[in-house]
């Protein structure tokens, strides 16, 4: 037991230096990157939030959601509508975006958490597409397929650098809260539900209730991602809610490793930057992405970080 504790501490020390290194890199990024790549970095951070929210359901709770982008879009549309139509305060709009996504998550989640496996996935997909079509067709309220343009942030956040720091801080705070959440007693119960829901129910846990809480947290977090992205991009469009968008966090998690906390972030960074880079010389991005996913599934089962973790654990247990 003592030995285990020491080992834990050593690996944490190693992690801490990595973390500090990344933090420094993030904070000096605007001085190094061109404006184009700074924009891509912003996108990667926002999409990583979406991927984290998705992985709360997939990696930790054990349910595959195919409608996570719906909450992302809802957060974005709430901000866009409040800012352009009602000239609402920027910060209050942010909060409203999170609340609307969480509230709709509560309603949709109420039905979804009653189902398991593929049925859960299909229902999240169906609800996601339902919301997409409502927004797509409701022309005089949402702008239909035109979306909403002219969603400006306040003056002091208008420069890309300022907004980048805003996104970075929101990202870091959310990631920290989420990290605490998955390591809390509630997080432990979440992992237990994933591993063996029958056993967990016979410990006195009301599975549907705990899954609903998780679902709402994930929806609110996805809403936050959408809410901070839209003022940066100055516009929002219906495809933000579409199932294709919902597929992105799925792929990011599989790429980076759904069994790890940082996996989906890594996956999303690879996808976003690779996408930006590849688009410079070809439009066949989906083909390249598909190949990449295939390579990972066959050569690195468990995703990049998941595979690395498994190797590391294997080496450590052999060594002792």
């Amino acid at each position: 037991m003592e030995q285990h504790r020491v080992e834990k501490q050593a690996s944490w020390l190693k992690w801490k230096w990595w973390l500090i290194l990344f933090l420094i890199a993030f904070f000096i990024a605007p001085f190094i990157l061109t404006e184009f790549y700074l924009t891509i970095l912003c996108e990667a951070l926002v999409m990583s939030l979406l991927a984290l929210s998705f992985n709360l359901l997939f990696g930790y709770m054990g349910q595959l959601s195919f409608g996570q982008a719906a909450f992302y879009g809802l957060g974005g549309y709430t901000v866009a509508l409040l800012v352009t139509k009602l000239h609402f305060n920027f910060w209050l709009s942010m909060i409203a975006g999170v609340l609307v996504a969480g509230l709709i998550g509560l309603i949709i989640g109420y039905f979804c958490v009653r189902l398991r496996g593929i049925y859960f996935s299909i229902l999240t997909l169906a609800f996601g597409q339902l919301l997409f079509f409502i927004i797509y067709k409701w022309h005089n309220f949402t702008g239909g397929d035109d979306g909403i343009q002219g969603v400006f942030p306040p003056e002091y956040l208008k420069s890309p650098t300022a907004y980048y720091y805003f996104i970075l801080i929101v990202f870091l705070l959310s990631a920290f809260v989420l990290w605490r959440l998955v390591h809390s007693p509630f997080g432990q119960i979440m992992k237990g539900m994933r591993e063996n829901s029958v056993r967990t129910e016979f410990l006195g846990i009301h599975i549907a209730r705990y899954q609903l809480i998780t679902f709402v947290i994930a929806a609110a977090l996805a809403g936050l991602a959408g809410a901070i992205w839209v003022p940066f991009y100055r516009s929002v469009a219906p495809f933000y809610l579409m199932w294709i968008k919902s597929g992105e966090p799925v792929m990011a998690a599989i790429l980076g490793g759904p069994s790890t906390f940082y996996g989906p972030i890594l996956g999303m960074f690879i996808m976003t930057f690779f996408h930006a880079w590849v688009l410079a010389f070809t439009h066949f991005w989906p083909v390249i992405m598909g190949t990449l996913i295939l390579i990972v599934i066959f050569l690195l089962p468990g995703g990049i970080l998941g595979f690395a973790q498994e190797k590391l654990r294997g080496r450590r247990s052999k060594g002792t």
């Binding site: 285990h4 119960i189 992992k191 063996n196 016979f202 006195g204």
Partner: protein, 247 residues
Amino acid sequence: MAFLQTQAVVKDFGKLRAVNSVTLDIRKGDVHAIIGPNGAGKSTYFNLITGYHRIDSGKVLFQDEEITKLPSYRRCKLGITRSFQITSIYPKLTVYEGVLMAILAHRKASLHFFSSAKKYFKEDVWRLLEDVGLEDQANAQGDSISHGDKKRLELAITLGTEPELLLLDEPTCGMSPEETETTITLINKLSQVRGLTILFTEHDMGVVFGIAKRISVLHQGTLIADGDPEAVRASEEVQKVYLGGAA
């Protein structure tokens, strides 16, 4: 006073009547065995008590409170916990985490969102691990330990909810003779030291007659005998359908 009471409980699977109007009282503090040949309805009867299956007719009372329609998680909160015939543990969690799950759930700490789970109930987890003899395996992953250890882990998990009534579905199934011996000692200790009421099913007659204070015999879903071990051993009907005259 009956601690747990089933009144004419019935369960049908299609045309098959798995449990046929079983009325039985379990007394507080007893170690009570349910025996019967394969397909006698023992596991189904267990599932009716713990809420895993819905009851078709009849009533279940726990401490004079009707629990017939309560979902299983509510029954667990009242103090009824079970183990499964096919061992039910957390394969990818460590042994320690599995036991911690149970204590978190029972002590109402499962809705703490922001503090580290590692800091909770350390002493209680270690004590339970020592009770079942798994303290050396605390950091092993659930699916990496031996079959006997998995059974003991499941026992530790069920004990983590501090039950008043513990239902064990074949607790020594698939164990080596030594492991069986340890488990029997453990069950005896639990009933004596903690005053637990234990209801269990078992195929191994050595185990049954070794620890049970009372034995009930099911045959094709019907209760055909109920009493202390001597009475059950002497019953002609039991010998005919079950013990095959060998006892």
